[in-house]
Amino acid sequence: MKYRMRAVPLALFILLTAGAACAQDLAFSIGTWSFLPDAAGKLPGGTPGVFPSFGATYGITRYLEAGVAIIPRLTPKPFDDIFVEEHVGVSLFGERVKASGGPAVYINTLLDAGFIFGAHNVISGAPVYSRALFLRITPITLGNPYYGRRDRMLSVGLVYDYDANSTSLFVSLIAADFYLAPRQKAR
């Protein structure tokens, strides 16, 4: 069981690396990430605070994409908790890119599954670590690589920390993807 759990992030990493090699729609991303307490009232970050998300997404196929992000604590103790996530996502209501190069579906829904690794007490003491799987749905995405920009809104996710055997929710109110090589700049 333990080895299988270790294999999850490794498999994701290989998948993401392979995807990056052929991706035409590489984007970097900024967003928010709000951890909510589990049933016992415990937060994945231990205490409340503000966590932005800085990452990258890139296309694997017309429907599939992958991404990585770093999610550091900024308040009240900057960088005392640092999370790193990697995920694969599928666009549910249409292609994210058209093979023809034309505009794909502008409004879409995104389903992501991934792994999140946490380092805690990084600044304030002896670091401890956490590992978890997550599933996230983003009901509204606006834009795609064709437009050079995509906004992901009101994402809700479920995190399962398999070491602590606890489940909690997280919310990302908004995240923006800025594509490095836009095919078309909308004006």
């Binding site: 900024i30 928010t32 709000s34 951890f35 909510l36 307490p37 205490t47 409340p48 605070g49 503000v50 932005p52 900024l74 308040t75 009240p76 103790k77 900057p78 834009g143 437009y147 050079g148 920009r149 919310v171 109110l173 908004i174 923006a176 800025f178 700049k185 909308a186 004006r187």
Partner: protein, 180 residues
Amino acid sequence: MKIQSRGAILLLFLAFLSASVFPAFAKEKASYYYSVSMEGFSSPLFSASEYADFSASIEVSPRDAINPAFSMHYLLPANPLAIGDSLAGISIDLTLFYLEDHPLAWMSPRKTSLAPQLSAAAYVPIADLGNLRYTVSLSPFRLFAGYGYFSIGAFSLVLDPSFTVSGWGLRLFDFSYLKF
């Protein structure tokens, strides 16, 4: 208490002064906008929560350099949710300039102007109206996009009632929508 009251009265005076005097010099009439933002603090004067700030503003000299605005705020500890610890606030917000050719144009598919803002705000817990605290903040990455403003990464200093720095804060984002 005396210093707190003086600070609040001064801020209110400046806010009303700017709201009443500046329109006389403005090229266009005042415009109104509402905003939502997410921020956090590292200060004993604010809890460690993620705060949602809802505000309504009047800007007295839209699109002019040195464009002052007067805002009212409702600051809600949103995560974890603590409605009882909400704060009310007022602020004077100064858009320093509007720069049409700017290095952040890539952030939006729309034509934007860089419009950094400097703000001074006074907050009071709704449950304890005598307990003032202040913030001075700078939003360097704030863009005007026609329909309103959006900003990421504002930094603020938290001041206690005697105007001594007692911490800092970060605003992750702010979206403002012009009403008219």
